[in-house]
Amino acid sequence: MSVKINRREVGEVTVVDLNGRLTLGDASAQLRDTLRELLEKGQKKIVLNLGQVAYIDSSGLGELVSGFTTVKNQGGQLKLANLTQKVNDLLTITKLYTVFEVHNDEKAAVQSFS
């Protein structure tokens, strides 16, 4: 019951596909490590594709916020795409929808960098 993370390049943008549950423990740590590695490689245009994430707990939300801040502090941008309804609802009730730049699909999110 964890998350699988896959990275791929779409032009200058790195799309990070998450599949599973973003919760306390390994899943949150995996996302943190992935973002840190991307920043170390100088990849600062990042889209998190959450299309296959049906569940995020408060720790997962915290990791998203933390990741957003880390990327921003290093001059990059972290955007979200493809939210499932439950994740969308979660970002709405926690007001985090006002923090993140959220796109309906990956294409729109990637294009928004240009």
């Binding site: 306390l24 707990d57 720790s59």
Partner: protein
């Protein structure tokens, strides 16, 4: 349904993997109680958040300290209790995660989510110390009332 079937008690170890177990028990109880899928999801999230709270802030990740989880099915509602071995906490002292100054914090949303997803939330000190978190979910109008009706029927007998 017999008397014993109205209550489910589980004792969990203070380990991250046990949070998934507690959540799974919650899902089965909520499903058995007749809550629809959306309400099952909310109950599971609320239970998970309380368990995480007990693990991190109550028992401070000490694996020697147990976490108690119980479910009681009433004719009109489900009551869930989570008991830890910590110092307890004041619900009123928990900061509002929606406030501008807290919005970018990486923690502090757990109990807020519980309040959003459940109908009632109370925190008390246990008889032997620790926090006892009690939360209630009432059956909605579209609830599959079979279980609640059975409990009510037994109560009347």
């Amino acid at each position: 349904m017999n008397q014993e079937a109205r209550r489910v008690n589980v004792t969990l170890e203070t380990k991250i993997e046990c949070m998934d177990l507690g959540e799974e028990v919650a899902r089965r109880v909520a499903m058995t109680a007749g809550f629809d899928e959306d309400e099952q999801h909310k109950i599971c999230m609320a239970v998970r958040e309380c368990l995480i709270n007990a693990l991190q802030h109550g028992n401070r990740q000490d694996p020697r300290k147990p976490i108690g989880l119980s479910f009681v099915l009433h004719p009109d509602r489900l009551v869930v209790q989570i008991r830890d071995q910590g110092k307890g906490f004041d619900l009123a002292a928990i900061s509002d995660p929606l406030a501008e100054k807290h919005l970018m914090k990486s923690s502090g949303r757990g109990l807020f989510l519980v309040r959003c997803f459940m109908d009632e939330l109370q925190v008390e000190s246990g008889r032997n110390g620790g926090a006892v978190v009690t939360m209630t979910k009432r059956y909605s109008s579209n609830h599959n009332g079979q279980v609640g009706a059975e409990v009510e029927k037994e109560r009347q007998q």
